[in-house]
């Protein structure tokens, strides 16, 4: 079920109690907006024939950004999946890097244009390399946590994946391994209610993906995926548990995929416009802005400047990325194995 943010006539400050400053929540919002505006631009570029493919984050920015803020961005290891534009921005990737990724240029830090867009990976940021076969990243995240435990390092390993993907064997094996060894892993399922065309009820028969936690003997929780504060609180709590040695947590960000699966998809063949329109009412980017406006943190000026800043950055990045060179054709032969010299 799509949850909606509770709205009362008199909006109260919800972030202070979570230990977040006004600056924090503005920064959260800016990352969400960045992801949204970049995503929108990518669709335009795709429709204009400038990039062959888009995979979209729209509808999931709130959970992604909230989650990033709940982690230690200087220490923790993360394995974001292909929709995590909001997450990787909040984690330190620049818009320019993102555009290089989408234009598949040599300078793309994720894969130098080797992988499809959204297949993140950035060692400098302790961000694992993502591949296309879904859920393979889950055991990797567990391995990071295990390695940290062996080395005695106090870090958290964070991984995301879709609800359809939670049906892969690797989800199960990774969750169980982490639980048995009480490893500091946070599994966050971004339940957007669709796996391409297949709706939630044809993927799982449980109410929430987080219901699976009990079967692993770990803690589980579902939160409103449209609310970055809920995401922040849930991830923060899970990270605290991990640091205290209480093991892994399985979270579900309950949300909705606002766009087609990718630019190759036509979602109107399997869901209705009404359904999508209804979901848009709960769009986290919109509702969080409303909250910030209601509590006077997002003033008209701040908002205009923010939009402006982002637009300029996207323009410049797009321009840069479009002009940037592809990797040399011969480079396809490189880095199959370590190259010693």
């Amino acid at each position: 079920m799509i949850q909606k943010m509770k709205q009362t006539a008199q909006v109260t400050n919800r972030h202070r109690a979570l230990g977040l400053t006004d600056q924090d929540v503005l920064s959260m919002y800016e990352n969400m907006l960045k992801a949204r505006r970049v995503d929108e631009r990518l669709w335009l570029l795709n429709r204009a024939g400038k990039i062959p493919f888009v995979v979209s984050c729209q509808g999931q920015e709130a959970a992604q950004v909230g989650a990033a803020f709940g982690l230690n961005r200087d220490k923790d290891y993360v394995a974001p999946y292909y929709r995590d534009y909001g997450f990787v921005f909040a984690w330190g990737m620049t818009i320019r890097e993102m555009m290089l990724n989408n234009f598949a240029k040599a300078e793309d830090p994720n894969s130098g244009g080797r992988q499809m867009p959204g297949h993140f990976g950035y060692r400098k940021l302790r961000m694992l390399s993502h591949s296309s076969p879904v859920t393979t990243q889950n055991p990797h995240a567990v391995g990071i946590a295990l390695a940290a435990k062996i080395k005695g390092d106090d870090i958290v390993s964070f991984v995301t994946f879709g609800e359809g993907s939670s049906n892969q064997g690797d989800f199960h094996e990774a969750a169980n391994f982490a639980a048995v060894h009480k490893l500091p892993v946070i599994f966050m399922c971004e339940n957007n209610h669709y796996a391409i065309s297949v709706s939630l009820k044809k993927q799982v028969a449980c109410a929430h993906i987080s219901d699976r936690a009990i079967g692993y003997g770990m803690y589980g929780e579902s939160f409103d995926g449209n609310d970055p504060l809920a995401a922040y609180a849930a991830v923060k709590k899970a990270a605290d548990r991990a640091h205290r040695g209480e093991g892994p947590t399985l979270l579900e960000a309950n949300g909705y995929r606002l766009m087609p699966h990718t630019s190759d998809d036509n979602d109107m063949t399997y869901r209705s416009k009404e359904e999508v329109d209804e979901a848009k009412k709960h769009d986290g980017v919109v509702t969080f802005a409303e909250y910030l406006r209601a509590i006077h943190v997002l003033t008209e000026d701040v908002e205009r400047e923010m939009e402006e800043r982002i637009r300029k950055e996207i323009d410049a990045a797009t321009n840069d990325a479009e002009k940037a060179p592809f990797a040399e054709p011969d480079s396809v032969l490189h880095y199959v194995y370590e190259e010693k010299n």
């Binding site: 062959p52 080797r114 076969p133 892969q168 064997g169 065309s197 297949v198």
Partner: protein, 327 residues
């Protein structure tokens, strides 16, 4: 008879077999309402209902394993793997289970399951939507692996695969889906499994290949004919177990053999073809057995120029035939 695309031929075969035999059903990711991400099952959901055109959870090992189970009950499941790259979670079910079911039960049980999977590159698919996966499975007794190169063969081979009483991996070239068109009879026909097919008769150089490469090779042969080079083209069609006789006689035909695959070179299906020739008709060769294949790197990158650099190009094939002719 009408002109159909390769993917239309696939859909026709599915439709005809489902119509003909109530035991045939389709399962996979997005095969239902969506008609498959490539539209191979288009219209079948509407026609046969959701029980026989079943959207499964996102879990390939279950798709293969549940398919095997249903086949044991007497059904003829056609499982779709959305991309052949994503078959690997099902490798254990395919190799340990489907392939060994008849043998391990001493002929008591069998698993008449067909697994369809789009493979191959040239579609901006990047590393994980472009691979040729056949070599991984082309060493597993109990499996049959089929790769059609034309719409006609696609329909006939798929129908034969579905009717076969053993498991068949059926790889469809995703670039061929809409690129290749040809005459496809509306009638019920099958193309036998296990038989290679001479796609062009020739006398100077023999090319042995399969999949979309057949198309490139035939084009090259056409161009080379104008220069007076006569190319003999054998399309393997079933790439495991191989049709040894046809391979040997094709090699003997010209004494000069070029093998072409878009898969990476080392350990590809062509290695076995070379081994068969080297074991059986070595002294009838007038030239080394040459291979044209992708480089030994994991898979083709996404960026356009890198993809191009990685792929086997028609000119490469043409050049290799020419070199052999002049050898």
């Amino acid at each position: 008879m009408s002109v159909r695309s390769y993917i239309e031929a696939i859909t026709m075969a599915l439709d005809e077999e489902m119509d003909r035999d109530q035991n045939v059903f389709v399962l996979g990711e997005d095969v239902g309402k969506r008609g498959g991400v490539f539209q191979a099952t288009k219209g079948l959901y509407e026609k046969y209902g959701e029980l026989r055109v079943m959207d499964t959870p996102l879990a390939e090992s279950a798709i293969a394993g549940v398919g095997i189970g249903a086949s044991l009950y007497g059904l003829r499941p056609v499982a779709e793997m959305q991309f052949s790259d994503f078959m690997l979670p099902a490798a254990n079910q395919i190799i340990s289970e489907a392939a060994k079911m008849r043998y391990r039960s001493n002929n008591d049980w069998s698993a008449p399951l067909t697994i369809r999977a789009p493979f191959g590159g040239g579609v901006h698919g990047g590393l994980y939507h472009s691979q040729s996966m056949e070599a991984i499975f082309a060493n597993i007794p109990g499996l049959k692996i089929v790769i059609p190169s034309t719409p006609y063969d696609a329909k006939g081979l798929l129908k034969a695969s579905i009717r076969d009483n053993d498991p068949v991996l059926f790889f469809e070239h995703k670039r061929a889906y809409r690129l290749l068109k040809g005459e496809v009879p509306e009638t019920d026909y099958v193309v036998p499994l296990g038989k290679a097919d001479v796609k062009r008769e020739g006398t100077d150089v023999t090319v042995i290949t399969y999949g979309l490469m057949v198309h490139h090779v035939l084009n090259a042969a056409q161009r080379l004919a104008e220069q007076g080079i006569s190319t003999h083209v054998l399309d393997l069609r079933t790439i495991y177990p191989l049709d040894k006789e046809s391979i040997i006689s094709a090699a003997q035909k010209t004494g000069k053999v070029l093998l072409v695959t878009e898969d990476t070179k080392e350990g590809s299906v062509l290695s076995e073809v070379a081994a068969i020739i080297a074991e059986n008709c070595l002294f009838e060769l007038d030239a080394p057995i040459k291979r044209v294949a992708a480089p030994d790197a994991p898979a083709m990158p996404y960026a356009g120029p890198l993809e191009q650099a990685f792929m086997v190009k028609p000119e490469q094939i043409e050049q290799a035939i020419q070199d052999l002719a002049e050898f």
